[in-house]
């Protein structure tokens, strides 16, 4: 496994399965009354969040704490951090404090890559979402959730719908699900597809009703209503009609097909409340699984050799 986790492309099939299997073990262990493992005792994990993301930050915090790491959370949002010099200075500060791992969320694509390769810090860098680039742990928790419901992903069909152009979740999911052998179809209006998407390892469709029948899962991406002001689509109503997931469309999935959403949802925009709260929805499970997967990532990247059971004793 690479030293850092910057992109889902960093993970081989073996790496990904190792993370998912470890996450499953950890899920079992932490299912007890005492949720804590001593594994990362004495190690320092820094949450470096240049962008608001309460759920991802809390998820990483919980993961690190359950492994007994010392957790420092640095929220740069709201401080005067807006220029890159601050990324460097912040990194140097964290390095001086002896961070073993830095979990970074940043509005600029590639910022975690810069942190990992600039020589500013020595520790492990984990990408917790960078600009419109990637969000690999989100893809891992999605894969974990899919696996729980569908078993092995080889040959499974997953439809990803929404603002692919601006979505780091979509990029990471396409890469990881492809690595795991699933067949991914991206669905969006052509304005929200990136140039060159035809070279990605997936199918592309502009028609949701055509893509959904028989699919094993559908993942709805958040679509910001502001995109309409930049003429990506005419109105949010038209978007919902063409690309929103309602009960009728959810019914096109395979019988045991499930509905995912990375959150936060725009109920009524990309997904109706009935579907979000309906029987196919695994959206709340995704949040729980996020902690397990992030524990597994920290566990494996911080180079802990012991198996979780032994460490737990």
């Amino acid at each position: 496994m690479n030293k850092h986790l910057l992109s889902a492309a960093d993970l081989t099939r073996e790496d990904a399965l190792s993370i998912l299997d470890t996450a499953a073990e950890l899920a079992r262990v932490t299912d007890r009354a005492v949720k804590k493992l001593p594994t990362l005792r004495g190690r320092t994990v820094v949450n470096l969040f240049f962008e608001d993301s309460t759920r991802t930050r809390i998820s990483f915090e919980a993961a690190a704490k359950r492994l007994s790491a010392d957790v420092i959370t640095f929220s740069a949002k709201g401080s005067s951090v807006s220029k890159g010099e601050s990324l460097k200075d912040t990194a140097l500060t964290l390095e001086a404090m002896g961070a073993d791992a830095v979990i970074v969320r940043h509005g600029a694509s590639g910022a975690p890559h810069r942190l990992a390769h600039s020589g500013w810090i020595e520790g492990v860098v984990i990408n917790a979402g960078d600009g419109t680039h990637e969000h690999p742990t989100q893809a891992l928790l999605d894969a974990f959730t899919l696996r729980q419901h569908l078993g092995e992903l080889e040959g499974r069909r997953v439809v990803v719908v929404g603002d692919v152009l601006h979505s780091r979740v979509a990029r990471s999911n396409v890469l990881l699900l492809h690595t795991l052998g699933a067949e991914v179809t991206l669905v969006a209006p052509p304005t929200l597809m990136p140039v060159g998407v035809d070279s990605w390892p997936c199918e592309v469709s502009y028609d949701l009703d055509e893509a959904l029948p028989g699919a094993d899962a559908v993942m709805m991406l958040r679509v910001q209503a502001e995109r309409m002001n930049a003429a990506y689509f005419p109105t949010s109503n038209e978007y919902s009609r063409r690309y929103g997931l309602d009960v009728r469309r959810a019914g096109l999935l395979a019988d045991d097909g499930i509905v995912l959403h990375p959150g936060p949802m725009n109920r009524g925009m990309e997904i109706t409340a009935e579907v979000a709260d309906g029987p196919r929805s695994v959206i709340v499970e995704q949040v729980t699984n996020g902690v397990h997967v992030r524990m597994a990532v920290l566990y494996l990247l911080l180079g802990v050799a012991d198996a979780p059971e032994e460490a737990a004793e």
Partner: protein
């Protein structure tokens, strides 16, 4: 003082001795035909090639305003080391070079520094705001005698304003040098728009944003009978459009930067802003197209777009990084590697693209002249086979943002002579 450059090959042809005095070439004779006059200064040119001094149409010297990144003295020293005897200083300084006062100041500071001639480029619009014309005539009539006008850094995107500018400068034989970039198509753009920008999650700068403005401006120039110059053309489509316009007799000239001749968008994979530039590095296919354009003369000039930036403006994440890269000291070796070694340009053609045509575009009467008796002694003496490592710590430039850091270059400037006075001898500032 009489100076003799001995045993040097003009345009790579037969070796001669070149003598000059008072800044004017006074003799060219076969090597060793006569001994140097008593008391003459002698420069050794053995094994070397002499060309007319290079002329850069596109240089950012940052003074006034960003003297932390570059000054007229430091930038022109780098220019001399790169073989240039004249540079055009772009107008996007603080204050903007949009009045006679600012352009005269820049011009005078160039004379004081003495490393190479500095010809200020005047802003087309007041403050580069794209709203109303700057006093172009006043700049033309000033001591700086401005002939090239550009809002470089931003595009003159308003078609009416562009038309008026093209027409207006005809009164004093000026030219508008357009930074071709449709602003709406490139809002927030970070790199070439391509499959790679999609993968990297960096907002794309599509080729059409350059090509559409070039096409519009060529048609405008044709309509009003003006000449127009295209800055840093970077795409295959742009080359095709300029070639088409030249065939139709439009009075257009175009330049390409050294970095667009050799580097591609693949470097964005590093997310290192060292490789962030505007227009962005394009694809290998575009690189081949601009080389072909320079070879067949569709592209008239190599222009550096030397763009120094302070350390902190590059030592950051990609999105926060400034656009631009150094170019003066590496332009010649890039041309050697991409054009001379593959046999696409001979030495006369190198002189044409790096000296003769840029001087003509800038209406510089005493630059880009032939190597002949009676002509001004603006010379560059080069060793096309010398190999050297790029090391910004050895450069007089105040900035270090070269895209060729740690790279080995082939082709070196040995001597540079400005108006008969050596500014560089044996690769060192004189």
């Amino acid at each position: 003082m009489i100076t003799v450059l001995r045993d040097v090959r003009p345009y790579g042809e037969d070796a001669v001795d070149i003598t000059w005095s008072e800044g004017v070439i006074t003799g060219i004779s076969p090597t060793g035909a006569s001994a140097p006059p008593q008391g003459a200064r002698v420069l050794d040119g053995r094994g070397l090639i002499v060309l007319p001094g290079f002329v850069d149409l596109h240089t950012h010297l940052r003074e006034p305003g960003r003297e932390d990144a570059e000054t007229i003295a430091s930038g022109t020293a780098a220019a001399a080391l790169g073989g240039f005897t004249a540079v055009h200083a772009m107008a996007n300084t603080t204050p903007v070079a949009d009045t006679a006062g600012v352009v005269e100041q820049v011009w005078r500071r160039g004379v004081e520094a003495g490393y190479c001639d500095v010809h200020p480029v005047g802003a087309v619009t007041v403050g580069l705001q794209g709203e109303r014309l700057a006093e172009l005539g006043a700049m033309a009539d000033s001591a700086a005698r401005v002939r090239v006008f550009s809002d470089d850094g931003v595009c003159v995107s308003d078609p009416v304003l562009m038309r008026r500018a093209l027409e207006y400068v005809k009164a004093f034989d000026g030219v508008i040098a357009q930074h071709a970039q449709d602003p709406r198509l490139t809002e927030g753009a970070q790199m070439n728009e391509s499959a790679l920008s999609g993968v990297l999650g960096l907002r794309g700068w599509p080729a059409v944003a350059e090509e559409a403005i070039i096409a519009r401006d060529l048609l405008l120039a044709q309509h009003v009978g003006s000449r127009v110059h295209i800055c840093h053309l970077s795409t295959r489509g742009s080359v095709d459009i300029v070639r088409w316009a030249k065939e139709r007799g439009v009075d257009v000239t175009a330049e390409v930067t050294p970095h667009h001749l050799i580097l591609t968008e693949e470097l964005a994979r590093t997310y290192d802003p060292r490789y962030k530039v505007n227009p962005p590095l394009r694809t290998a296919d575009d690189v081949e197209a601009v080389r072909a354009g320079l070879e067949d003369g569709t592209i008239d000039a190599v222009a550096t777009d030397h763009a120094p930036h302070a350390r902190e403006d590059k030592d950051c994440e990609w999105a926060a990084g400034a656009f631009g890269m150094l170019g003066l000291e590496t332009a010649f070796p890039v041309v050697v590697e991409t054009m001379v070694v593959p046999g696409r340009l001979d030495w006369r053609a190198v002189a044409d693209r790096m000296s003769v045509r840029p001087a003509r575009i800038g209406r510089l009467a005493d630059q880009g002249r032939p190597l002949a008796v009676g002509e001004p002694a603006h010379l560059v003496v080069v060793d096309p086979d010398a190999v050297w490592d790029v090391d910004p710590s050895r450069s007089p430039s105040r900035s270090a943002n070269t895209p060729f850091l740690g790279r080995q270059m082939r082709g070196a400037v040995v001597h540079t002579v400005l108006r008969g006075r050596p500014t560089v001898v044996d690769g060192v500032l004189a």
